[in-house]
Subunit: 84 residues, 2 copies
Amino acid sequence: MYKVKVYITLRESVLDPQGTAVQQSLHSMAYNEVKDVRIGKYLELSLEKSDRDVDQVVKEMCEKLLANTVIEDYRYEVEEVVAQ
Amino acid sequence: MYKVKVYITLRESVLDPQGTAVQQSLHSMAYNEVKDVRIGKYLELSLEKSDRDVDQVVKEMCEKLLANTVIEDYRYEVEEVVAQ
């Protein structure tokens, strides 16, 4: 079994209106030290072992479904979980 | 300057219909090794140094605005960025 953590973020050049809204809310709550907020997605997947390479599978899933690579970047971590 | 990464996830006991939908899509694309998908949020904040403790500030912001602690858990990492 593998536990995969996927982080999907907007590319640097893409505006993040949701982040801007959160930043404005934080300012209105007197957290003026906040200078930038960017909001992305965080996915946790559990994968069974198969005859395919786990790295290859995760990359494909990100490219095809999980991330929109035109405007988003992704990175992931794979951790092998040993059944007790 | 601090760079803060916040991970917000649904609590274990809370259903995740968005995750279930993504899992079903992955199955329909023949990624049958995927046994579970949970979707959360990932935030990157830039904070200026202030006379308040950064840990305390981040905790407060999470509790008050960023996470809904009734159904969500959060964790965060603070990294100090030194201006070049």
